[in-house]
């Protein structure tokens, strides 16, 4: 009789505890404003269709297919977009001005992106960073764009 009871207890515990932990550790950091074509938000095993209103969490991977684009807006009022055939991981996003916790770290692995900095950039210059396969970009402001893997010689 013991093992099933323990099993039931664990099952119930995981249901009761998991949402609380999840909500506290992973609050909404922004949302999708616009999308065209096949645009996705990958969260762990889950692949969500990115449509206007889709909420974003730290750790999400944004992706676009051929001819697709995606525009998002973060809680610090900064905005980010992806061009076609692009992938970007939002590794870290901290926005608690009252506690002085501010930071953004994202990594683009392919394709193209644009970013317009917001309050994180204004309140804590240098704490917003983007990585590409070859470089790290520290942001003082305000708008810039990246193209990964451009063939050519310049």
């Amino acid at each position: 009789m013991k093992p099933p009871l323990l099993g039931v207890f664990l099952l119930v515990a995981s249901f009761v505890l998991a949402p609380g932990i999840d909500a506290a550790a992973r609050e909404t950091i922004g949302m999708v404003r616009s999308s065209e074509g096949v645009a996705t938000v990958t969260r762990g095993e889950e692949v969500l269709q990115a449509t206007p209103g889709t909420k974003l969490l730290a750790g999400d991977i944004l992706g676009t297919g051929p001819d697709a684009t995606l525009g998002v807006i973060f809680r610090d009022n900064s905005t980010l977009s992806l061009g076609p055939e692009s992938n970007l991981v939002i590794q870290e996003f901290l926005f608690s001005p009252a506690e002085g916790k501010l930071g953004l770290l994202a990594r683009i692995t392919r394709g193209s992106m644009a970013y317009l900095s917001g309050l994180i950039g204004k309140l804590a210059p240098g704490s917003a960073r983007f990585e590409t396969p070859t470089a790290t970009i520290g942001i003082r402001g305000t708008r810039f764009a990246v193209k990964v893997g451009t063939p050519g010689s310049r």
Binding site: I73, G83, A114, A135, G138, F144, A145, T150, P151
Partner: protein
């Protein structure tokens, strides 16, 4: 003899392709914002960094090397490289500041008229999130002002929902006298601090 050029051509093509792959680079371009203001970014690669601070200044970085010398990229090339991404960049949020009569949750005449602009923006940009943050000047106690600024924020939220805005997209916060727009000492009457900041994002 006729076969030779073809083989050569294939060789050249392969050579070109492989060198193109080897020199595959990331390009980073600094651009002015909508107001025409250009900030600055620091691009670092292995063993070096470059600061970009002028409009359309760009730098390319090859794997395992320091960033190249910054150069001014022609508008046309910017569009070719990152045009679709730039067009997809959402507009930044719009903020409105609504002012109140002294010691009340009643909008000034001018601000009451501005509510229409807020509503228009909400409709044009839907779907949106709206944050409504109440503030006061520094006259009176902290506790009193916290409640007053909450009443102000609630009053604005009520006006918006009465005009059909979904209450679930409105986030109401009260800052009391802690976050003045115009810094003053304590117990100072300042009309510009009696306000609600509405951000439509």
């Amino acid at each position: 003899m006729r076969g030779m050029p073809r083989i050569l051509a294939v060789c050249f093509a392969l050579l070109f392709l492989s060198s193109a792959c080897a020199s595959s680079r990331d390009v980073i371009i600094l651009l002015p914002d909508e107001q025409g203001k250009t900030g600055a970014i620091i691009v670092s690669g292995e063993g070096g960094e470059q600061i970009l601070s002028e409009p359309r200044q760009a730098v390319s970085v090859k794997p395992g090397t320091a960033p190249g010398k910054p150069f001014r990229m022609p508008e046309k090339e910017v569009r070719t490289l990152v045009g679709p991404a730039l067009e997809a960049l959402p507009q930044p949020p719009i903020q409105f500041i609504l002012y109140f009569e002294h010691d009340t949750a009643r909008l000034t005449g001018k601000s009451a008229k501005q509510v229409d602009d807020v509503l228009r923006t909400i409709r044009e940009r839907a779907p949106v999130d709206i944050s409504v943050v109440g503030h006061t000047d520094t006259l009176g106690s902290r506790k009193y002002n916290y409640r007053l600024s909450l009443e102000r924020a609630q009053a604005v939220a009520d006006i918006l929902t009465a005009k059909g805005v979904d209450p679930s997209i409105i986030d109401i916060t009260s800052h009391g006298k802690d976050n003045p727009l115009i810094p003053t000492g304590d117990q100072v009457a300042e009309p510009r601090n009696r306000r609600v900041e509405v951000t439509v994002r």
